[in-house]
Symmetry: C2
Subunit: 135 residues, 2 copies
Amino acid sequence: MEKKEHYHTRARRALEDFFSSHPDACFTARDIIHTEGLSLSEPTVFRLLSQMTEDGVIERFLPEEGGGASYRWNECAGKGHFHLKCDVCGELICADCDFLSEMEKHFSSEHGFELDSDRTVFYGKCEKCRKKETK
Amino acid sequence: MEKKEHYHTRARRALEDFFSSHPDACFTARDIIHTEGLSLSEPTVFRLLSQMTEDGVIERFLPEEGGGASYRWNECAGKGHFHLKCDVCGELICADCDFLSEMEKHFSSEHGFELDSDRTVFYGKCEKCRKKETK
DNA sequence: CTAAGTGCAAAATGTTTGCATACTT
DNA sequence: AAGTATGCAAACATTTTGCACTTAG
């Protein structure tokens, strides 16, 4: 639970700028390594991604199919929210509504389970993709 | 959506037997490869795990930290259920209660999201581990 | 000056593929 | 006989490590 000391280096700033200027998009380590403007080495990218995830600056999402973990700017840090991931278009939707506390209550009282909503990802099909299909 | 034809081979039977006789435990490909009684090669294990997951015989869970994906006998195949994964002891609990349809209803009406409950894993802390901590 | 960060090369993991052989149907 | 499965070796992809060097505080 101790905050580690981080120097403000070029690499760290570059990554923070990169994520914060694409707040809704997910990137893999690979994406970042191959982004021209950044030119960061593999170890540096993985090290920074891990640190920034631990610090809550970005969020980490596990790989679905091929490829590695993906990361995204964490706008709603610590706010209590949940994620909806569309299996069709791949979009990751950040949701925040009252139902969350209802879910937490249910899991706690009925299953004795303390839900960590920030880490839980709901899979399914998003509104856009559902509409497309019923055409 | 077409069912692929599968031969009943020694390897396939061995894996099915293995999973069905440990219905509550999760195994990685690595675990299986190193299980003495089975003696299956790496490619065979990965190929079978993929096929059996597609066919719904087993369930696949993505890696949390280190290690690869883990697999488990799918007892509640197609029954509509959800999973609670304890971050502390790692246990994966299979839950099946009425709240599920309530959740589906909420996501559908409020978020336009069609939930695939079978694939969704809730992270948090299970009853046992919560009790342990408050000692 | 000291602690932390960086890049390179190499290693460790997890998973997949090409291909010749063996098994199921 | 035809189609699928297997094992080996090798390829691939992702992530980590060791180490010499640089940079921030």
